[in-house]
């Protein structure tokens, strides 16, 4: 026990939670890609009842590399698309997915089918990893014309994601009930990973106002969908 060096200290390995940490390959820097799993598991699904993604995650948690590869074949395309909507570049999206699959390999045992779907779990790991990448300024150059053009597409992506929601879906209806600016804030944040500052610049509103819009919008959504 003697002689350990001071660690990176992310330390978030409570098995009840999905505090998933990924390690950036180039720097070894520990980055927390948090997400939650189950605090309670009243009625865990049996293996035979589990949808395939949940089952695959179980197998990955048991150390089956083949299950991780099957998961890759099934989900990596979708995960790449989610990441690319945020990072905008194919190479960066692929880097995100590499990190994400290493994280899944390490952390699949923390997934809990008693709370939330495997797909939502995977999506949020991807989103948070992608957000880490774009908020690390050294990783992207926004000044070249190609990048600027790509960034211009982000808002179109956000709008189309909202419009693709089925009319009878409660998320669609509840987002539709929001004040348009609050709706825009939430969609821009979720779909393309805009920060408070980016949203404020886009909507020409003070950052504090944007924060308040989002918080109130989230409360309204929560009430509408419950």
């Amino acid at each position: 026990m003697e002689g350990y060096t001071r660690g990176a200290g992310s330390g978030c390995s409570n098995p009840k939670l999905f505090f998933v940490s990924a390690h950036l390959k180039p720097t070894g820097k520990s980055i927390s890609i948090e997400f939650i799993s189950a605090l309670h598991r009243p009625q865990p699904l049996t293996i035979s009842q589990m949808p395939s993604l949940e089952r695959l995650l179980e197998q990955v948690a048991d150390g089956e590399r083949a299950a991780l590869e099957r998961l890759f074949r099934l989900e990596a395309g979708r995960m790449l698309a989610i990441a690319r909507r945020i990072v905008r570049r194919k190479d960066l999206a692929e880097e995100v997915i590499q990190d994400v699959f290493v994280t899944i390999w390490r952390k699949a045992s923390q997934f809990d089918a008693g709370r939330g779907s495997a797909r939502a779990w995977l999506s949020i790991i991807v989103r948070h990893r992608a957000l880490n990448v774009i908020r690390d300024g050294a990783r992207m150059d926004h000044h070249d014309p190609e990048s600027l053009a790509e960034l211009g597409d982000r808002e179109a992506d956000a709008t189309s994601a909202y419009e693709a929601l089925p009319d009878d879906m409660s998320l669609r209806q509840c987002l539709g009930d929001l004040d348009p600016q609050r709706r825009s804030c939430i969609i821009l944040a979720y779909v393309v990973g805009y920060s408070h500052g980016e949203i404020a610049a886009r909507l020409k509103a003070p950052v504090g106002t944007v924060k308040a819009w989002i918080r109130r919008g989230l409360l309204a959504l929560r009430e509408c969908m419950s």
Binding site: Y4, F19, A61, D62, F72, R78, M79, I82, A161, R215
Partner: protein
């Protein structure tokens, strides 16, 4: 904004990805101790999932999979599919951070005591402080607090059991912490008596917020493999109290 509203709004911001690192760490700490907050996070996560349900997948190439597989090989991942997991012996040596595998099957019956301490490596951490550096509420699988740990800056730890648990003959309690995922869980000592105590520390890094602590039930004289073999009885994440 009421505390209930604040909880919902923060859960939403967390899922949207609008938190900075500090806010996110606090949210993670709250998830550990606040089931209502954790539920709100899960709810938003599932609901927003619909915003990417119709996304056209990109091409996931074989080259990308090969790159992932190479990363896993490089980082010590092993294919252990042939080993059948059992509750007693976690079978998966592969990912280092999976050493907590098996911890989830926590038993309700448990007991809590500790005879261990935390310490510091560098001289800069040796100055005694009157207040605990971190406090940990250890809760059982039903989220009921069962013990408190206070780790001080002078190489000592105060351990306060909040209730008594059954300990079978030939069994001991073993305390663990994880301060570095690459190192994995580290044993803080074994014990059988259940009483409050202050213990001197060992050569570990300074305790930090969000550091993971747990107590497992082991056969005497304790886990021989440097990671928990028995069920995790209680666990918690460290919080740095305001000064």
């Amino acid at each position: 904004m009421s505390s209930a509203e604040d909880r919902i709004a923060r859960a939403g911001e967390y899922v949207l990805g609008l938190m900075d690192e500090d806010e996110r760490r606090r949210a993670e700490a709250d998830i550990a101790t606040d089931a209502a907050f954790a539920n709100e996070v899960a709810r938003f996560a599932d609901q927003f999932e619909a915003l990417q349900a119709n996304l056209e997948p990109d091409e996931a190439t074989d080259e990308l999979w090969q790159a992932i597989a190479a990363r896993l090989d490089e980082e010590g991942g092993e294919d252990t599919a042939a080993d059948a997991p059992t509750q007693v012996v976690p079978p998966r040596p592969a990912p280092r951070s999976s050493r907590f595998e098996g911890w989830r099957n926590a038993l309700l019956a448990a007991c809590l005591v500790a005879a261990f301490g935390l310490g510091y490596l560098g001289g800069q951490y040796m100055t005694p402080t009157p207040n605990p550096v971190v406090v940990v509420v250890l809760a059982d699988d039903n989220e009921i607090p069962a013990a408190i740990i206070e780790a001080y800056g002078d190489d000592s730890v105060r351990f306060v059991p909040l209730r008594e648990f059954d300990l079978g003959e030939g069994q001991v309690l073993e305390a663990w912490t994880q301060f570095d995922e690459d190192i994995g869980p580290v044993s803080l000592g074994t014990f059988v008596e259940q009483r409050e105590r202050v213990l001197s520390g060992r050569g570990l890094p300074a305790p930090e917020p969000n550091q993971f602590y747990a107590i497992s039930l082991e056969d005497a004289p304790g886990s021989p493999v440097g990671r928990p073999l028995g069920p995790i009885l209680v666990q918690g994440l460290a919080v740095a109290p305001p000064r």
